[in-house]
């Protein structure tokens, strides 16, 4: 943890504290407190995974504030109606445990929303109380004499350990683990009915599972586009491309009407391979490999040229086919633009802040562009992240300041120290950009002070191209447009 240094917003010639307090304060260092956190809590990651599953309702077992806050975050980011249910624990129920509330909530959701799946996450409150969600869910199922025709999946998400990144991973794993489990296979679940007849005729063994990691709907769309271009039948975990970027068509979905189906999740066990496009969300893939022998390929998120190449090369190897012409053209266009833009981007110092996969990918990409990713920051303390960045740093010869498990305060310090010229991060970092008078490329989660967060693209060649345009034009506007005449 980086320590507090010369953070001087203003000079304080006269300390407002008395002598004794001054002594006390002098001994104090920023070690415990978090100032403007840069990570979210666990249930949010679970909810994000569940929003890509057809007919899934996320239920947070805790007080209703947690789920309301998360809905608020998600709604203002995606600008879509989003439902996240709560067991609405209150003072009285806190004392007696949450069994009654959880059973009642499952009942309400079952009857009101007719889901194809309920994902039940815990919250800090119910973790602290120690509610045993598995046995409460079992009780609910028994009470209903097996009339429940959809899976109810418990996911443990105590936020005082970890962040939304870990829980996103754990949720995928829990889904795959529970749904590929035998007992569930025997049941006649409504989610198993596949509307898409054609896809069920395809040999399951030809399919490839793709774990996307935390991506925007448009990025998931791009992953699907690439797979289609390469003629690959896939199962995407989890597919939020339509549920969180849904058209205005006169209907409102209370549960995602599009997304990965229960049947698809079950079929992951039979697929030829799993590609995890994330180093932080591959547990479901590890499980499938161990349990069912589905080979796991762990790739970096396809951001920028080389990482996208790697993704496509893997697909080529897996299917023994050729690279699609269209993809080749897209690649060429990106290369062309990289050459054209270099004069503006060369040696620009950039700071990148957000989820680990995204930050690693953008670090690679900006370095491909000839920029210097001088500061990278993620909210979770993570060794894998540090190693990935160190690898890039040793390959490209840039010295990169790594903040892993830091907050925005730490980020701000480094942005100042390193004299960063352009910042990439979510809306929270807008304050830093403004104070340092540098431009901000809004990316990641949450982006609530601009429109179109669900359409932000960073994955694949095409997104690389539009992102490159955005970065370069932002740099031109900031550092070239106002040149004094004598410089022209």
């Amino acid at each position: 943890m980086p320590e507090s240094k010369k953070h001087q917003k203003k000079d304080h010639p006269h300390s407002p504290y008395g002598e004794e307090s001054q002594e006390l304060i002098a001994k104090t260092q920023k070690r415990f407190a978090v100032i403007n956190p840069s990570r979210m809590c666990q249930p949010l990651g679970a909810v994000q995974a569940l929003l890509g599953i057809r007919g899934a309702m996320p239920l947070i077992h805790g007080s209703q504030g947690c789920s309301t806050y998360m809905r608020f975050q998600l709604c203002r980011h995606y600008r879509e109606p989003i439902n996240v249910s709560s067991t609405s624990m209150s003072e009285a129920t806190v004392v007696y445990g949450g069994e009654k509330n959880l059973i009642q909530a499952l009942n309400t959701i079952t009857h009101q929303y007719k889901p194809e799946l309920i994902g039940v996450t815990s919250s800090c409150l119910t973790e602290t109380i120690g509610d045993d969600m598995d046995s409460i869910i079992n009780k609910f199922l028994q009470n209903n004499h097996n009339k429940i025709d959809f899976p109810i999946i418990p996911i443990s998400t105590p936020s005082y350990a970890g962040s939304h990144i870990e829980s996103y991973d754990q949720t995928l794993k829990a889904l795959v683990e529970k749904i590929t489990h035998q007992n569930i296979l025997k049941q006649s679940l409504k989610g198993l009915k596949d509307e898409n007849k054609k896809s069920s005729q395809i040999n399951l063994k030809d399919k490839i599972n793709v774990i996307t990691g935390l991506l925007s709907p448009m990025d998931v769309e791009e992953v699907k586009f690439i797979l289609k271009e390469m003629n690959i039948e896939s199962i995407v975990l989890t597919d939020n491309s339509q549920s969180l970027n849904s058209p205005l068509d006169g209907k409102v979905d209370f549960l995602p009407s599009k997304g990965t189906t229960i049947k698809q999740i079950r079929d992951t066990a039979y697929s030829k391979a799993t590609i995890a496009l994330s180093n932080h969300a591959n547990s479901a893939g590890v499980f499938l490999e161990k349990e069912f022998g589905v080979k796991l390929f762990n790739l970096p998120t396809p951001i920028g040229l080389r990482a996208t190449d790697e993704f496509i090369e893997t697909l080529v190897k897996l299917k023994n086919n050729q690279i699609s012409k269209t993809l080749k053209i897209h690649r060429g266009q990106l290369l062309d633009a990289m050459v054209d833009a270099h004069a503006y981007n060369y040696n620009r110092k950039v700071a990148i802040y957000g989820e680990p996969d995204m930050v690693v990918g953008l670090t690679r990409f900006t370095s491909e562009l000839g920029m210097i990713p001088a500061v990278v920051c993620t909210g979770t303390e993570c060794n894998k992240f540090k190693q990935e960045i160190e690898l890039i740093s040793s390959q490209d010869g840039h010295e990169i300041q790594i903040i892993s498990g830091g907050d925005q305060y730490d980020l701000h310090q480094k942005v100042k120290e390193e004299e960063i010229e352009i910042l990439m991060g979510n809306s929270y970092s807008a304050r830093i950009a403004k104070e340092e008078n540098i431009p901000l490329i809004r990316i990641g989660f949450p982006v609530f002070d601009r429109i179109g967060a669900q359409r932000i693209k960073i994955v694949g060649y095409r997104a690389g191209l539009s992102l490159l345009d955005l970065i370069t034009n932002t740099i031109i506007e900031k550092y070239y447009d106002n040149l004094k005449e004598e410089h022209l």
Binding site: P16, G65, C75, I82, M89, S90, Q112, S123, P158, G250
Partner: protein, 490 residues
């Protein structure tokens, strides 16, 4: 029967008593059941008690640092949620060095597993010290309990008492963990009592006048306060303390010195006015500044109290003259449009009448997140026959309200907005506003303008769905000779 069980609520018949349809010959006591726990699993729009205190009451104070005693989530979500800007000017004429400090920073104790097991007091103490060091400018530090810390029973009061002495500045603990009440309203209550108990009466204002008022329950959402302030200035009335929009910590400490308290948001802040009246004998008056008529009536009442009737009249005439032409324009455009108002609490009785009287709209549905009996009584009084009044609607009920009552526009919050849009119902935000402020004479025009813009958004003429189109197959008409010739020329 004045209560209605919605189609979507068959599985939860308890909801029936929360949905009331106004009939004027009903006994007075018939109002929706309210301020009760949400049914688990019911998709409520309500928040938690912690959000009620930090997000509403204290978050607007310009010079206090906030320390949330919680795992990371509550702190992260409690950051930057409301739009209540502040100026840097202080009552003694000095400048507070950090602009919009209240919007920019939040601190948290970031509880870890071991803290949950062994208690988080040490960490709380340390974090408050860190806040003191990091933000020496802050004139007070406010610490908040959340569900986890409420449950493990950390003695926050003890810690802040110690630290207040050690630091020589006010450190205040707010004990409103999320689970402590059915809605954010519980947090308002705790916030009022805590601030009253610990602060009011502890400091003296730099100067006083015979025309000093407390403006209570005005949080300066999107600059509301800055609309109201000039009215008072022109009347010769001095706002000694605002509770809490654009206020500083010390203003709360000297609220006992006002001659009169004006209670603007009566759901979240009547408590403190009441306490101040009981303890210090400062009377209070409930006021309403939404819509020109209420605004005028209330300014007159305040003018009368201070013997400043003429001046009040002047303000009213001046503003009315300014807004009249625009008001007429919007009234013509909005005449007969049906509206659904869904706010947290009081805007549900503030807004309907002005929308009807001044804009010619028809309020068909009213719903609230956390209103209590007294509020529902007012809503009922002001509602027209057959208006549906819903306490804490769930998301399915919302769709049913839209289908049954066919509003042309919804006034609500961000979580509801996108649901409305999908159903082609325009929606204007009234919690944090679209292009506010919405209060006062000029603010009402802003609201009317936003409503008008949303209803007359040209996109609504373009919305056409495929299945609708499919029903009328395209008829190919015979080309005219002229058209044929131009085609063949190509």
């Amino acid at each position: 029967m004045p209560y209605d069980l919605f189609e979507v609520d068959k599985a939860i018949p308890e909801r029936k008593k929360h949905i009331y349809i106004k009939k004027s010959d009903d006994p007075e006591a018939e109002i929706p059941s309210c301020n009760t726990k949400t049914i688990p699993g019911c998709m409520t729009e309500r928040g938690c008690a912690f959000a009620g205190v930090k997000g509403v009451i204290t978050g607007a104070v310009k010079d206090a640092a906030h320390v949330i005693h919680s795992p990371v989530g509550c702190t992260a979500y409690g950051y930057g949620t409301k739009r209540y800007p502040t100026t840097s000017s202080m009552p003694d004429g000095s400048e507070f060095p950090l602009e919009n400090f209240n919007l920019k920073y939040i601190m948290g104790t970031d509880l870890k597993e071991s803290d949950v097991v062994f208690g988080g007091m040490k960490k709380l103490r340390q974090s408050i010290l860190e806040a003191a060091k990091e933000f020496p400018e802050a004139n007070a530090i406010y610490a908040y309990a959340t569900c986890t810390t409420g449950l493990i029973g950390d003695d926050m009061d003890g810690v802040v008492k110690e630290l207040s002495e050690e630091l020589g500045k006010d450190v205040v603990a707010f004990n409103a963990p999320g689970f402590s009440g059915p809605t954010q309203s519980k947090g308002h209550h705790v916030g009022n009592h805590t601030l009253f108990q610990h602060l009011v009466g502890s400091k003296e204002p730099p100067q006083t006048t015979p025309y000093d008022v407390n403006l209570i329950g005005e949080y300066n959402i999107d600059g509301d306060l800055w609309i109201l302030k000039p009215y008072f200035e022109e009347m010769g009335i001095n706002i000694l303390s605002t509770f809490t929009g654009d206020c500083c910590h010390d203003e709360i400490c000297w609220m006992h010195r006002a001659k009169l308290s004006l209670v603007r948001c009566q759901r979240s802040a009547t408590y403190i006015a009441d306490l101040i009246e009981k303890e210090y004998g400062v009377p209070y008056m409930k006021v309403d500044f939404f819509g020109p008529r209420y605004c005028a009536e209330n300014l007159r009442a305040i003018g009368k109290y201070f013997g400043l009737e003429d001046k009040a009249e002047k303000v009213i005439q001046d503003r009315m003259a300014k807004i009249k032409p625009e008001l007429e324009f919007y009234k013509e455009k909005l005449q007969g449009k049906k509206v659904w108002v869904f706010s947290g609490g009081p805007k549900n009785w503030h807004l309907p009448r002005p929308l009807e009287e001044c804009l010619g709209m028809e309020v068909v549905a009213v719903s609230t997140m956390f209103e209590h009996e007294d509020g529902y009584e007012k809503i009922k009084q002001r509602a027209k026959e057959n208006t549906v009044i819903v306490d804490d609607p769930n998301s399915l009920e919302m769709e049913e309200i839209i289908e049954k009552y066919q509003p042309d526009i919804m006034l609500s919050g961000v979580k509801e907005k996108y649901l409305a849009h999908k159903l082609q119902l325009p929606c204007v935000l009234i919690h944090s506003y679209e292009n506010g402020p919405y209060i006062g004479f000029e603010g009402f025009i802003n609201l009317a303008k936003d409503i008008y813009a949303s209803i007359y958004n040209p996109v609504w003429n373009l919305v056409e769905f495929q299945d609708e189109v499919k029903e009328e197959p395209l008829e190919l008409k015979e080309l005219s000779a002229e058209e044929k010739s131009t085609l063949s020329a190509k």
